[in-house]
Structure formats: structure tokens, C-alpha cells
């Protein structure tokens, strides 16, 4: 095992893997700063680029990008009060008030250092915990996840103040959040709920616009009311001294950072819980660790502990999420689901093999994760085992159309433009079905769970019938070129699916 650990380290330190990791980190930095483009979406966009890389290079690139995106989301949360990522929202509560007090450097230092400590703890747990967590992960079903959601709401409720009335208000708001999450298509039956006749709501409420509405718009208005810079008329702090002070804060409250990292790891291990839950539970824990009511009053007004807790959980949960992904092929979250797709396309089957035959590759992930904080699968192979389930029927259908025009290559973004069919759209309801997935020579029976619907567009495009469904429906990835490039009258068949939503169980 130790040999594999060293081998994994050297795999990542090879110049090509290391350079690709740096490129990934650069991309992740930009993505993390921009609200609206999530780390998971970027991972999906970057998947086609990994096919010619070796597994160690590919995962250094992808994990470097993903880990940095999670961290840099905190930067905009602190500086502007706008969460760069959905999982950076909790940092706004105390990070932005610190910036308003002229302590932006201190807040940034604290967030980045606690993220590093969280990442180290997450990676350590990743390296040690794989044999231990198997029964835990496999015993978690819907009831357990529901109870975890209730625990999360209970933790967040504690932020609404002490006393019975505050608790009632907090729980009511928590249930309102759960109710709002039911907007959109029911994933089992396909029935539309609370869509108000708007196609935009078919895919539910996207978290980033909601967070921007809750956090950023009030802050923008407040900034306009004050009519000053974010830090007001205060003397600008010495940035370097502030950052060093933030780093020192991490070690002043080291056990809080460790506890919040543990919260992040635990929630990361559980499939489906998500990074937002980890950050808020960690923030609630930081608030609950206040000594008394007076100490508690400091939270929300720029207390550094309110930055340290979420910052630590933000990165430690990445290590936690990798555990079930690597060991059991059960992704801990949407981004890990995409990473799992990357595993399969590299010919690596997640599961026991990753802990025996491919152990150096597994350790290279953990190294890539700590450091930063070729051939694609053919569609024919996908359906090698069975052809009677909806996805294979669909791929067979589109493949047939593709075969009729062999001079047109299959775009890597799954776009096909060869059909002369009537205009329309339909979708496969979110469902689970079994498939035999073959990548190169490795075949495996898989249960495919599609968390959201797959859309199928059949169109005979013309000026009046432009296929804009995917973008109206809900910001899913564009899997075909711009509609404006579509020549009028050119028929096409498009397959649109949210890559982040396709889970291999």
C-alpha cells in the first residue's frame, strides 16, 4: 500500500500530469469566481478533453479543476457577497461583513488556510477510510438520507435564534425550502409540479440564481444605499498582514477547523447529501460552538469562525465524496458522477479493482486533490449487452440516422443533425434501468439511475421553429452547437441530457 502511495505521488508529479493539473487549477479558478458556472458543469465540459490523456493525467486535470473551483467560490463570497458556487453560500454570512469591516485579507487568509487544512483531512480520511466506510455507505437508503436532511434543517434552524418561537420559524423556513425543491418535473412519474405553465420551471429552481437573489441583490442595494466602497471609509488594511492574520486564525481555532472538516468528510461520504449541506451544517456547528449568547452575537457580523467552519468543510467533503466514488462506484455528488463517467471512459471500473489493481491511480487522485487544493466509449459498445432499454433504443435510433450519413462525424457533444422528422420534443422520465456498459474490453452490468429526464429533440428547423428547448427548460449543458448556426430548413436530431444527473449506481 505504501508503495502504491509513493507511486501515486510520482504519477502526479510527472511533468505532463503536473502541468495538466496546473491548467485544471487555472480553469477551476476562473470557474469558481464566476457565479453561474458550477464546477460540475465544467467537469462535464472538460470530459471530451481527457480521452487522449493517461488516467493519472486525466484525473490530475479534473480533480485539480474541481477542488480549486470549490475553494475560489469563497473569494467572491467574501469580497462581494456573491457566492461563486452554490456550495460557497455559507461563507457570505460572516465573510462579507468582514470585508465591510476592512478585514477582507484576513477573511481570505482564513478561508484559504482552513480549506487547505480541510483538504488535507479529507485526503487523509480518503486514504484511510475506504475499508471502514463500505457498510456505512451501503446501508444508506432513502429513509436515512431523509433523516440526514432533517438533521441539516435542524442545524440550520439553530441559526434562526434561540427559543421556541425562533425554532418554529426556522423549521417553517426549512420546510419552505424543501417545498420549493419540489418545483419542476417529478423524477419518478414525469408529472410537472408547480410549473405555473412556465417551461423554465420544468427543471426546478436553479440554486445559483436563487442564492444570488437572496444574498447578492440585497447587498448590492445596501451598497447603493451607503454610497461608499464595500469597506466604507475605513483605511485599507495591509493585505499581507491581514492574510497572515487569517492563517493564524486557522490555528487559533484549530479544533473548530478539524471538527468542521470532519463534518464535511462525513457528509461528503454520504451519496446525495451535497456540498451545500456540508457548508451550512459546518457553519451551524461553528455558531453552536459559541461560548454564550454574547459570543454568539458576533456571528453574522464578521466573526472569523464563521469563515473557518464553512471553508474547512468545503474542501474536506471533496475527499469524502471520492471515497464511495472510487471504492464502490457510487458517486457522492453530481461532480463525482461526472468523474465516474471519466473513470469508465478511461477503462477503469470503480470498485474493488481501484483498491487493488489500480491502487496507484487511486492514490494519484488523492495526491491531485491535496496538491491543489484514447478512445471514447463508442455508442455501439454501450448497448453491447442489452438493447431493450430506453437509452439504447434512443442511441440505436440516432446511430441509425448517423449511419445514413456516414460522411458526418458523431460530435463529441452527442449532437446529431441528420434526421428528417417532424418538429417536437419528448423526454424519457427519470428512471432506473439496467444496462451492460462496455468500455474497451471491460464490461460491466450497471444500474443506471437518471436523476433528471433526458430530452430528445426531433426537429425540422426553420426560422419559426428554432430548437431552443434545452435552454428554456433549464440551463442544462448545451449539447449541440448554437441554434443560430443551424441553417434554416436543415433537419436535425438532438439528444440533450444533464450530464451531471446521470448516475451510475
Amino acid at each position: 500500500m505504501f508503495d502504491a502511495l509513493i507511486e501515486g505521488l510520482f504519477l502526479v508529479l510527472q511533468w505532463k500530469a503536473f502541468s495538466l493539473m496546473m491548467v485544471g487549477m487555472g480553469l477551476g479558478f476562473i470557474v469558481g469566481l464566476l457565479p453561474g458556472i458550477g464546477g460540475a458543469a465544467t467537469l462535464a465540459l472538460m470530459l471530451p478533453f481527457i480521452f487522449k490523456m493517461s488516467p493519472a493525467e486525466a484525473f490530475a486535470f479534473l480533480l485539480g479543476m474541481h477542488a480549486v473551483a470549490a475553494t475560489t467560490g469563497d473569494i467572491t463570497s467574501i469580497l462581494f457577497g456573491v457566492p461563486g458556487e452554490a456550495i460557497s453560500a455559507a461563507t457570505v454570512v460572516d465573510g462579507y461583513p468582514m470585508a465591510k469591516k476592512g478585514e477582507a485579507g484576513r477573511a481570505l487568509g482564513a478561508a484559504l488556510m482552513s480549506s487547505l487544512v480541510g483538504a488535507l483531512i479529507g485526503a487523509l480520511v480518503l486514504a484511510l477510510a475506504i475499508p471502514i466506510v463500505r457498510p456505512l455507505v451501503l446501508s444508506f437508503g432513502s429513509p436515512e438520507l431523509f433523516m440526514l436532511a432533517m438533521v441539516g434543517i435542524a442545524c440550520i434552524t439553530s441559526l434562526s435564534g434561540l427559543g421556541a418561537r425562533s425554532q418554529i420559524r426556522g423549521f417553517a423556513t426549512g420546510f419552505l425550502g424543501l417545498l420549493l425543491s419540489t418545483i419542476g418535473q417529478d423524477r419518478q412519474s414525469g408529472t410537472l409540479r408547480f410549473d405555473m405553465g412556465l417551461m423554465y420551471l420544468w427543471d426546478g429552481l436553479d440554486l445559483v440564481p436563487v442564492l444570488v437573489g437572496i444574498f447578492a441583490i440585497p447587498e448590492i442595494i445596501d451598497l447603493a444605499v451607503r454610497g461608499t466602497a464595500i469597506a466604507g471609509d475605513r483605511q485599507p488594511e495591509n493585505l499581507q498582514a491581514g492574510v497572515i492574520e487569517g492563517i493564524k486564525d486557522t490555528f487559533r481555532h484549530f479544533w473548530l477547523v478539524v471538527r468542521c472538516s470532519a463534518v464535511g468528510v462525513f457528509i461528503g461520504i454520504l451519496p446525495g447529501a451535497g456540498g451545500g449541506v456540508a457548508q451550512w451544517v459546518a457553519y451551524a456547528h461553528a455558531v453552536q460552538s459559541a461560548k454564550d449568547a454574547k459570543d454568539r452575537e458576533r456571528f453574522g457580523k464578521g466573526d472569523v469562525r464563521g469563515v473557518l467552519g464553512p471553508g474547512a468543510a468545503n474542501n474536506s467533503k471533496e475527499g469524502g465524496e471520492l471515497i464511495p466514488t472510487v471504492a464502490f462506484g457510487v458517486p457522492g455528488g453530481g461532480a463525482m458522477g461526472i468523474l465516474l463517467g471519466g473513470f469508465l471512459s478511461m477503462g477503469l471500473t470503480p470498485g474493488p479493482d481501484m483498491l487493488t489493481k489500480h491502487l496507484p491511480i487511486t492514490f494519484s487522485h488523492h495526491r491531485a486533490f491535496v496538491s491543489c487544493r484514447p478512445e471514447p466509449s463508442g455508442q455501439g459498445n454501450l448497448c453491447a449487452g442489452r438493447t431493450d432499454h430506453p437509452l439504447c433504443t434512443l442511441l440505436g435510433f440516432c446511430g441509425k440516422l448517423h449511419g445514413e450519413r456516414p460522411n458526418r462525424r458523431l460530435d463529441c457533444d452527442l449532437h446529431l443533425r441528420f434526421a428528417r422528422l417532424s418538429h417536437g420534443a419528448f423526454w424519457l422520465a427519470a428512471t432506473a434501468f439496467r444496462s451492460r456498459l462496455c468500455v474497451r474490453e471491460t464490461c460491466r452490468d450497471l444500474s443506471l439511475y437518471i436523476r433528471k429526464q433526458i430530452w430528445i429533440f426531433l426537429a425540422h428547423s426553420s426560422r419559426g421553429h428554432r430548437p431552443h428547448f434545452a435552454h428554456r427548460v433549464g440551463h442544462r449543458l448545451s449539447l449541440y452547437p448554437r441554434a443560430t448556426q443551424q441553417k434554416a430548413g436543415e433537419p436535425w436530431c438532438g439528444l440533450g441530457c444533464d450530464l451531471a444527473s446521470v448516475f451510475f449506481c
Partner: protein
């Protein structure tokens, strides 16, 4: 009974929960299960909260809520004027996006805001707008190929 402004929020939650359950009654069991599972507790909690606010005695809060803090040191009349101004800009931006689409609305808005509201010089406004537009176009249109909806005016004119 004392009806205060904060009771409006509880009333709103009550209405939302009632509407959710009313809509869910038509759906199949599986579809309506989650709206009912969350709507019923929300209805009960919001109702309890509303009753306590209307008829209960005011109790001293034992611990404050953790929430965002906003400025209180600006004269209310000035604050109202500034809020109206910034809301008008936000509404104008949304209207602009609807009318001409995102790719045109972004540079127009940035240039207008910088030159008219922030009183930045023309050349600086132009330069910053160009940089913002290049980043915007380069990332979304050129690199990611993420098309935006065309505006109402373009649809109307068939451009």
C-alpha cells in the same frame, strides 16, 4: 390581537403551504407524496407561528438570529431615494435583457451604468465595457458555445 408587519411572512408561508397541498391533491400518490410531506408540516408550523404572533405575548429573545446586517446610518429619505434608483437600474437591466437579449444587454448596461450612474469618464467606461464584453463573449459564446435567448425585438423583426 395585534397584526404586525412580520406576521405577513407567516401568512405568506401559510398561503404557500395551502396552495401546494391544494395543487397536489390532483396528482398521483408518488408525485404528491413529497409536496404533502413538506406542505403539511409547513402549514402547521406557519399556522402556529401566526397564532403566536397575533395572540401570544411578546417574549424576550434568548439568543439572536444569525442574519445579514444592513446599513442603518443613512438618512431614511436618502436611503429610499437610493433604493428606488438601484431598483430602477436592476429592473432596467432585466427589461433590456428581455428586449435585446443578453449579449447586447450586457455591454449596453455596463456602459450606461458606468457613464451615467457612476460618472466614470467616457474612455474608461468604454474600455471597461469592452473588457467585460470580451470576457462575456469569449467565455460563453466563443469558448463554451452557450447560446443565449434572442431578445423580443430580434424575434419580432426576425433578425
Amino acid at each position: 390581537m395585534r397584526f404586525r408587519l412580520r406576521s405577513c411572512f407567516s401568512l405568506l408561508l401559510l398561503i404557500v403551504a395551502a396552495y401546494a397541498m391544494f395543487s397536489a391533491r390532483r396528482w398521483s400518490f408518488k408525485t404528491s407524496l413529497f409536496p404533502f410531506a413538506t406542505g403539511i408540516p409547513l402549514f402547521v408550523l406557519a399556522g402556529t407561528q401566526l397564532i403566536l404572533e397575533l395572540f401570544g405575548k411578546d417574549k424576550a429573545v434568548r439568543g439572536p438570529a444569525v442574519e445579514l446586517e444592513f446599513s442603518t446610518d443613512v438618512d431614511p429619505a436618502v436611503a429610499r431615494k437610493r433604493v428606488a434608483g438601484i431598483l430602477a437600474w436592476i429592473a432596467g437591466f432585466i427589461l433590456l435583457v428581455f428586449l435585446v437579449g443578453f449579449p447586447i444587454a450586457v455591454p449596453v448596461f455596463i456602459f450606461s451604468y458606468l457613464s451615467l450612474q457612476s460618472r466614470v469618464g467616457w474612455w474608461l467606461s468604454f474600455t471597461l465595457t469592452a473588457i467585460a464584453w470580451l470576457c462575456f463573449y469569449g467565455l460563453f459564446q466563443w469558448l463554451l458555445h452557450l447560446p443565449f435567448e434572442e431578445g423580443f425585438i430580434q424575434s419580432l423583426l426576425g433578425i
